[in-house]
């Protein structure tokens, strides 16, 4: 399958297979005017299968969302047809409005204009806790 290479834009590579659409939605790529290609289940020597997203424009990507949802991903910045910069993801220290607190006792459940902030509390365990009530994200 051939997808034209891009001249100036971004390639999000090494996405865990099956997560491409989720990232497309979370990064709100549906709002872009430029060409966006999602390649699903591409062959990868490292990962077996992977998803790739190609965006034919230089846009600001929310690295926090990407780092949280797709920590294996890499972001390639393409300028004039060649690789200008390659960024590896890492888990962000803080997530704002990416995940939401479901603890019914948390202040965010009654004051909905508050940003939902989660802090990384254990990098090895990928553990995030709500900044307000400290409930663990995976407990919800």
């Amino acid at each position: 399958m051939n997808i034209d290479s891009i001249k100036n834009g971004i390639v999000i590579d090494h996405i865990e297979a099956g997560k491409g659409m989720e990232i497309y939605n979370l990064l709100r790529l549906d709002l872009l005017d430029c060409s966006v290609a999602i390649i699903k289940n591409a062959t990868s020597s490292k990962m077996g299968r992977k998803d790739i997203i190609k965006i034919d424009a230089k846009i600001d990507i929310d690295m926090d969302i990407l780092g949280y949802v797709a920590p294996t991903a890499t972001v390639d910045i393409i300028v004039d047809g060649s690789l200008c910069e390659k960024k590896k993801m890492s888990l962000p220290e803080k997530l704002t409005n990416v995940i939401f607190c479901k603890n019914p006792r948390c202040i965010t459940t009654t004051e909905q204009e508050l940003p939902n902030i989660f802090n990384l509390t254990n990098r090895e365990k990928r553990e995030y806790r709500c900044a307000y009530c400290e409930t663990r994200a995976s407990e919800q």
Binding site: N103, R105, C106, I107, T108, T109, T110, E111, E113, L114, C130, A131, Y132, C133, E134, T135, R136
Partner: protein, 303 residues
């Protein structure tokens, strides 16, 4: 400008400074009687609490300051739908420091993020209650003279009991603490608190039997099973009478055991225990006032 929302907001050195000032207040109350002249404390209590609010208010009066009090959320602007953030910004215009209790976890943090004066968390649901922990620490300091080499029994609701979690966090900063965690199966300490104990190099045992480790204890910290922490009345009724401390149960305890309780109690400590010289829970109330005085002084930077 600093706020105290969680006991973790205070370093071990700061805790010791606050204790030292509280001890000095006890020895020399006159020295502190005008430290807060002209300053105002706003007590914003969105949840019923008599003792904590009165303790904060007494603390401020004894420092020579004044108190603005909001104790009935039903009559406040919160009932009209005002956000915690707006309340904090507004009250900052009137007061020099705020003490806030709120039923929602994290509300005092929201207040601190928006206020232009220091905010003290006076209890946010089942989450944090740092000034209770300050009261507990001064009590241990005065009764035991140390924070190291202690066997500390914690009994009752160890799952929702915020005072228990904060006290464990404060004590794990010291050395050689053995925690005896006494609770029914449904109210056991959450795993993250147990991990904290282990990671700091301390040990713990879990038991359902209040008497099993009684002879080993230096401190016995009793807690109430709180109705307001349960969504289900049936579970509350089943668990509320799990542990009741009586003079008979204390027969095997050390002669210098310190019996503590954050109060109010319902029936988990028999009234007959009150006359036992090992009962410290009313001293703990008084210690709470001194520690709140000391904390107010620290946050207002008037020392």
């Amino acid at each position: 400008m600093r706020s105290v929302i969680d006991i973790k907001d205070l370093s071990t050195k700061e805790l010791e400074e606050i204790i030292a000032v509280a001890e000095d207040i006890i020895e020399n109350p006159d020295k502190y009687a005008h430290k807060c002249d002209g300053k105002k404390l706003a007590t914003l209590f969105f949840e019923p609490s008599t003792r904590t609010r009165l303790s904060f208010e007494a603390a401020m009066y004894e420092l020579g300051g004044h108190v603005l009090s909001m104790s009935d959320a039903g009559s406040s602007s919160a009932a009209k739908g005002e956000s915690v953030a707006d309340t904090a910004k507004t009250v900052s215009c009137y007061a020099d420091i705020i003490a806030m209790r709120h039923p929602k976890e994290g509300a005092p943090l929201v207040a601190a993020m928006n206020a232009s004066v220091p905010v003290i968390n006076a209890g946010d649901g089942g989450h944090n209650h740092p000034t209770q922990t300050l009261a507990d620490l001064l009590t241990i300091h005065r009764e035991k003279g140390r924070f190291d080499n202690l066997t500390v029994g914690l009994c009752g609701d160890l799952k929702f009991g915020r005072t228990v979690h904060s006290l464990i966090n404060a004590l794990t900063r010291y050395t050689n603490i053995k925690f005896v965690l006494i609770s029914p199966e449904e109210l056991k300490v959450p795993s993250y608190v147990k991990n904290e104990i282990k990671e700091c190099g301390h040990s713990y045992v879990q038991t359902k039997d209040l008497s099993e480790f009684m002879p080993e204890l230096d401190i016995l910290y009793m807690t109430r099973v709180q109705r307001e922490r349960f969504f289900n009345e049936e579970d509350y009724l089943r668990l509320k009478d799990s542990y009741i401390l009586t003079p008979e149960k204390l027969a095997t305890a050390k002669s210098d055991l310190s019996i503590m309780h954050p109060l109010p109690r319902v029936n988990e400590i028999s009234v007959a225990v009150d006359d036992d010289p090992r009962a410290c829970y009313f001293k703990q109330v008084l210690n709470g006032k001194y520690m709140r005085m000391s904390l107010i002084l620290k946050l207002l930077e008037v020392l």
